[in-house]
């Protein structure tokens, strides 16, 4: 749905490089995570898609068309620094922003009502934004972003400012939108949300793309073939044999149970047979790295 090729962006007459040779391919109706430390270049890229700034080099396509002002009405953007007019009522603001995105007043009104029901916030229509708490204001922010039914949603740290219940509510809405065909780009530090929600991910560090791909593939790529095992009904001698064959670490004993980790790049079935010979298997888990670990690994290398 969105394709960027060799994007380069600098500031200060070339002295500061924000993005170099940045290319990604975002499939339609997917949730695409954009990860990276602060200052890596995520916000610069997002601004380029939103046509707030222009890339120095490179091109962006949306659905095969080169990026142009017509695309603005099909993109919804929730910036990390939330912001709405404090002294306008919620209703007025929704209509205003909806109209700015090209909706008619009637459309904006009906969509606003729809979202108010979805998020359970009917009674806020006439309230001024200054009267709402931060979490409530964030919900309104979300509605402003999705009101005009954009095909592409760009959410910068969408969960910051939400308590767990409301964060879940928003997460469900995002997934629902994806199932209805919306493409969503999520920029975040929260790795758990990447694991839970994202289909694809791209890692940016220091203005360059470090890796990208399906979340599943990326995690597989970084797995270290480490297994976490808990054995019962065994003894030190049997374990001795096991240690000779496999690399075993972090052994602890607890209530007659032996916990340890071992590395195995060979066939897992043979490992299982060896373990069965050693004792009763209570737990056998492959340690797939969390996105957090992937991130740290990728950034450090």
């Amino acid at each position: 749905m969105l394709k960027a090729e060799n994007i380069k962006k600098t500031y200060n007459a070339g002295k500061k490089i924000a993005l170099q040779d940045f290319s990604i391919d975002v499939p339609t109706a997917s949730i695409y995570g954009l990860l990276g430390p602060n200052g890596a270049g995520k916000t610069s890229f997002i601004r380029i898609i939103n046509q707030i700034t222009q890339a120095d080099e490179g091109k962006v396509w949306i659905d095969g068309q080169e990026l142009n002002p017509e695309h603005i009405r099909n993109i919804g953007y929730m910036p990390e620094e939330r912001g709405l007019y404090k002294n306008m009522t919620v209703g007025d603001q929704l209509l205003y922003f909806g109209e700015l995105k090209g909706m008619s007043r009637a459309e904006a009104l009906s969509q606003a009502k729809f979202w108010f029901e979805q998020l359970n916030i009917d009674q806020w229509w006439k309230k001024k934004l200054s009267e709402l708490s931060k979490g409530m204001a964030q919900k309104i922010q979300f509605v402003v972003t999705v009101l005009h039914r954009p095909k592409l949603l760009i959410l910068d740290e969408p969960f910051s400012g939400f308590d767990p219940v409301n964060a879940n509510l928003i997460k469900d809405q995002i997934i629902r939108l994806k199932n209805e065909g919306t493409t969503i780009i999520l920029s975040t530090h929260r790795m758990e949300s990447v694991e839970e929600m994202c289909d694809f991910v791209a890692l940016i560090n220091n203005s360059k793309k470090v890796l990208d791909g399906k979340v599943f593939d990326v995690r597989e790529q970084f797995k270290q073939n480490v297994f976490s095992v808990v054995l019962a009904d065994t003894n030190a001698e049997s374990l001795e044999e096991l240690t000779r064959k496999y690399q075993i670490e972090n052994m602890t004993t607890n209530n007659g149970l032996f916990h340890f980790e071992l590395k195995n790049s060979e066939n897992q079935n043979i490992l299982l047979q060896d373990l069965v010979k050693t004792g009763t298997i209570r737990t056998f888990n492959e340690k797939i790295p969390s996105m957090n670990e992937v991130f740290i690994n990728a950034v450090q290398s």
Partner: protein, 436 residues
């Protein structure tokens, strides 16, 4: 285009719905008038009446020193002087005792230095000067009489030379002093109003820009509209607010003028021929009526037209400057280093315009009303005195051109500035933004 309309509409409605706007627009003129009346009333209420006893040993003042509304002089016999001086403190009906010594050998200076006013209460400066003036006038007459000149001749000496002036290139009837006074007052008033409005509403635009920057709304809006549209929408919105306020005030003034004017013309019919001069000495209401008559006599449609045009464009010129300033900084204290750029030319226009009163067609007046930075203020100051059409057109053309240029430059600064935070923008930095 539609976006500019939406943004303008929002700015306009937000400001107009504020209670402060309604109060200011409708109540302010009423308050001003009420205030003026109150001041007048306060002055009148504080007018004191004094009662002085006079012991005149020179004999020159009896019959000459006339009582007025403020001061009542009562001449008392000389032999009561000592008793009065002793009891002055306790006397109720008398506020003071004026003692004038004998005149010896036409030594008027000695008379003056020997005269005393003893009071049993505090008297103000103007009362003292009234008494002093009264005494001085009488002495003057006496001194002249001593020179051998008759009294009725003296009266003629001090008459004001009433000079009738008429500009043959302009009108075919002589101009009254009052009309000229009105023009000056109008000129100063309008000029001051334009000056204050440009600054007040320009600062509002600047604050609005800062607000949007500070509450980060700007990022969302910029993802929907171009920065130029946002800036223009904001400027036009605030312009409409100012214009609305003006129109309400102008309407109120014109209505009042017409209302009073019909009163004037009704009055004129009833006064027999030859006594129009009497009108000049009548009290406030008639003067107000005559003022409105003169106002309506002037080319007030033309004046209002020029006023509205120069105000509008001058305002757009300066408020784009203010918008650029607001976008370049992060908070209001940082704006102060830049607002000088706006305020200094305006003040030049304002103070320079005072010279326009003295010389409406002079070179200063000409240049100030042509150069775009000062022309909004200066041309408005000039227009009640009449300006040649070619000058008006030249000034209009220059103002439009420089307003467009200013808007262009400001929008370049605006587009970069609104997304920049934490940068201490210097002039050099800002210049780079313009050139990009």
């Amino acid at each position: 285009m539609k976006n500019i309309y939406l943004i303008t509409k929002r700015e306009f409605l937000t400001q107009v719905k504020k209670k402060s706007f309604i109060i200011l627009t409708i109540l302010a003129p009423l308050l001003m008038v009420g205030f003026g009346v109150l001041i007048g009333f306060m002055f009148k209420a504080n007018e004191a009446e004094y009662h002085f006893d006079v012991v005149d040993k020179s004999g020159l003042f009896a019959g000459q020193l006339k009582s007025t509304k403020e001061i009542t002089y009562t001449f008392v016999p000389e032999n009561t002087e000592n008793a009065l001086v002793k009891n002055l403190k306790d006397l109720n009906g008398t506020d003071g005792l004026l003692i004038i010594p004998e005149l010896k050998d036409t030594n008027f200076d000695a008379l003056e230095s020997g005269t005393k006013l003893l009071t049993n209460k505090k008297i103000g400066m103007d009362t003292k000067s009234l008494v002093s003036a009264d005494l001085s006038n009488i002495l003057k007459k006496e001194k002249i009489k001593q020179l051998g000149i008759k009294e009725d001749r003296i009266v003629n000496l001090d008459k004001n030379f009433k000079l009738i002036s008429q500009n043959v290139t302009e009108s075919d009837k002589p101009e009254s002093d009052l009309a000229f006074g009105i023009k000056t007052a109008l000129s100063m008033g309008l000029m001051y109003v334009v000056f204050m409005f440009i600054i007040i509403y320009g600062v509002r635009v600047m604050r609005s820009v800062l607000e949007e920057k500070n509450n980060r709304v700007v990022e969302i809006i910029i993802s929907s509209v171009k920065p130029f549209e946002l800036m223009m929408g904001k400027i036009l919105g605030v312009t409409l607010v100012a214009l609305t306020q003006f129109i309400v005030w102008i309407a109120m003034t014109v209505t009042a003028a017409i209302f009073l004017n019909t009163g004037f013309s009704a009055m004129q019919k009833n006064i027999p021929a030859g006594e129009e001069g009497v009108l000049k000495n009548l009290d406030i209401q008639q003067i107000a009526t005559e003022v409105s008559h003169i106002l309506l006599d002037m080319n007030y449609v033309g004046i209002i037209g020029v006023f509205v045009f120069f105000f509008l464009f001058g305002y757009i010129f300066y408020s784009s400057m203010y918008a650029a300033i607001g976008s370049a900084v992060d908070n209001e204290t940082e704006t102060q280093q830049f607002t000088l750029f706006a305020v200094v030319p305006l003040m030049l226009g304002l103070y320079g315009s005072f010279t326009i009163m003295n010389n409406p067609d002079g070179p200063m007046a000409f240049w100030l009303s042509i150069i775009p930075f000062t022309s909004p203020v200066a041309m408005i100051a000039r227009i009640p005195f009449g300006v040649p059409l070619w000058q008006i057109l030249l000034s209009i053309f220059l103002l439009i051109a420089s307003t467009l240029l200013m808007v262009f430059i400001a929008s370049k600064i605006y587009r970069v500035g609104i997304l920049m935070y934490g940068n201490k923008a210097t002039l050099k930095e800002i210049w780079k933004w313009v050139r990009s």
